[in-house]
């Protein structure tokens, strides 16, 4: 079942085609990796879908809804969420509050002015639950700004995950982290995501990570899709190998 579909999605920055008539479909339940060299257009695509950028042309369809020009909050409400490549947290709030906020927002409880946030037991329980799934439960009282880098990356994902989205975009969840931590992070992320039956699209550079965790891999190059398939298919794809090794593409 198709969850997300972009039709001829395009975005230009001056002469650079960040996205060039991209037709992207994501199926429900997939764990998809979006790969490509720097500047291939991966983050632009995610920015367009999540609402950070407005497209020049094309459409974005999510579960029969046309979200092309929808404001960000509408997309979140529809069920799209994202984490950020450069960690984007509420540093002055505690780890617990960061996640709790997602839940409050999701449950539309953020309009409550006359109730104390800490008293909401349902939210507390769920927040602690999410945090323990991501291995951050002991740090729940710590200020987000005080975490180590690996923990911050996990928290960034947890905050997006706590929105219980239908479609979760993870922008380089393992970038800037040591190799050992990478595996740990991806193990956590992929197991939580699969357990929660959330469809995920992960932007990733580390091909080992990509091959290990993905159901499907999509490679972008200069704003277009170059290859799209299972890890085996991609491994066998000559163009992909050439891109990765820097050799010229076949005609």
């Amino acid at each position: 079942m198709i969850l997300l579909e972009t039709v001829d999605l395009s975005k230009q920055f001056g002469d650079v085609h960040a996205c060039d008539h991209v037709n992207f479909t994501v199926n429900k339940g997939e764990f998809l990796s979006l790969v490509g060299s720097n500047g291939a257009g991966k983050t632009s695509l995610v920015n367009l879908i999540s609402g950070h950028l407005k497209p020049d042309s094309g459409r974005i369809l999510f579960e029969d809804k046309d979200l092309t020009f929808a404001p960000v909050y509408e997309r979140i409400r529809a069920g799209i969420a994202r984490s950020f490549q450069i960690v984007n947290l509420f540093d002055a709030l505690s780890v617990f509050d960061n996640v709790a906020l997602s839940i409050f927002s999701r449950e539309r409880k953020v309009v409550k002015i006359a109730a104390l946030a800490d008293r909401d037991q349902d939210v507390r329980r769920e927040a602690l639950d999410v945090l323990s799934q991501f291995g951050l439960a002991e740090k729940s009282a710590v200020f987000a700004g005080g975490l180590a880098q690996g923990e911050r990356k996990l928290l960034d994902v947890a905050v997006a995950y706590a929105l219980r989205p239908k479609l979760l975009f993870l922008d380089e969840p393992t970038s800037g982290v040591s190799t050992r931590d990478k595996t740990q992070i991806m193990d956590t992320v992929s197991s939580v995501v699969r357990a929660g039956a959330v469809t995920a699209v992960v932007i990733e550079h580390d091909m080992d990570v990509v091959f290990r965790y993905s159901d499907r891999i999509v490679m972008m190059h200069e704003g277009r899709f170059l290859a799209d398939g299972t890890p085996e298919a991609i491994k066998a794809n000559k163009d992909v190998a050439n891109i990765l090794l820097g050799a010229p593409l076949s005609a």
Binding site: S50, H52, V72, Y73, I76, R77, A81, R82, F84, N88, L89, F90, D91, A92, L93, D97, A100, L101, S102, F104, S105, R106, K109, V110, V111, K112, I113, A114, A115, L116, A117, D118, D120, V159, A160, L163
Partner: protein, 334 residues
């Protein structure tokens, strides 16, 4: 279970401390002069104004240079109610004045929160200037630079009136307790607001607007509501102020007065809850003595403001809690 208890303990301590402070404040008039009681009343009123202001600055991250507008609207509402409707009841002043302040905040807020931080500040300044100019221009309505007089109101739905023998003394004491009660209510309300899910969302928006948007929060709407509440609190301060002062003039709408509100919040510290309260009370005392000492009081204010921003950006309360934290850390190193 254990987690809940350890979370509860600091709160109990907080409530205990607040109760002690409240009791002290209630006992104070018996030990200090009438003049001091009056001064303290002004201090509590300033604290209410600063508390409202800080919802916008400390918790939402918006710096307004035009809060004098709401204080002034509150004050002038009372003056108009007295002059044109003969109303003397303090409760009616609040009941009618508060919605007026709220409406003004809603309107000004709607215009201002559409804009980024720099322009937000200037726009708040501009709107308060418009109000000030109008107060001057329509002097036949507002009394112009002479202002409007306000006599002693009746408290508690007319049960307490202040006429006859010892009227002034009874009024000062009675009004002090009235303001203290309103102040306590305001503190509780504001405390609940900043600790509510709404309050947490505001802080999130303050810290990271982008992420907050990606949490599904409607940024502009939150800021507008915060503006509305903030202006209403400051308006309430204006309503409480004018019966005590006996007179309202356009000065209370003029931009330096907005500056005083900013200053007192900064003095106490805008990054925590009690800062504005401490700042409001402290500032009232400082101003009284400074104005007596020098004619160039605004100059002094400016100098101290600059020094504060440079040396003590977290204000007095912030500095105290930082020192306390340092001492605690020294006692038991992690």
């Amino acid at each position: 279970m254990l987690a809940d208890v350890s979370r509860a303990q600091p709160k109990l301590l907080l409530f205990a401390a607040a109760a002690v402070v409240l009791i002290l404040l209630a006992l104070l008039p018996s030990y200090i002069s009438l003049y001091q009681t009056q001064l303290l009343t002004y201090g509590l009123i300033a604290a209410i104004a600063a508390l409202g202001f800080n919802l916008l600055l400390g918790y939402t991250g918006l710096l307004s240079f035009g809060h004098s507008a709401f204080f002034g609207i509150g004050a002038y509402s009372v003056a108009f109610l007295l002059r044109d409707a003969g109303i003397r009841s303090m409760e009616l002043y609040i009941l009618i004045g508060l919605p007026v302040a709220a409406l003004t905040s809603a309107l000004f807020g709607y215009i201002c929160v559409r804009h980024t931080r720099i322009f937000f500040g200037i726009l708040t300044l501009a709107l308060s200037q418009v109000l000030w100019t109008l107060t001057y221009k329509f002097f036949w309505v507002t009394g112009g630079s002479d202002g409007l007089r306000v006599g002693r109101p009746t408290l508690l739905a007319g049960m307490l009136t202040f006429t006859g023998r010892d009227a002034f003394q009874r009024f000062i004491n009675g009004y002090y307790y009235y303001v203290l009660a309103v102040f306590a209510i305001c503190v509780v309300i504001m405390w609940v607001i900043v600790h509510s899910p709404f309050g947490k969302a505001l802080q999130a928006i303050r810290d990271n607007e982008t992420r907050a948007a990606f949490l599904g929060l409607r940024i502009r709407r939150f800021r507008w509501v915060a503006f509305l509440i903030s202006g209403t609190f400051t308006g309430l301060a204006g309503i409480l102020w004018v019966p005590l002062n006996g007179l309202t003039t356009p000065e209370v709408l003029y931009w330096p007065f907005s500056g005083e509100i900013v200053f007192m919040t900064l003095l106490g510290g805008f990054r925590n809850f009690t800062g504005p309260i401490v700042g409001g009370i402290l500032f009232t005392y400082l101003k009284t003595y400074a104005v007596a000492a020098t004619e160039y009081w605004q100059l002094l204010l400016g100098v101290v403001l600059v020094l504060l921003v440079m040396l003590l950006p977290t204000g007095i309360v912030g500095a105290i809690s930082a020192t306390a934290a340092k001492l605690r850390w020294k006692e038991k190193p992690a």
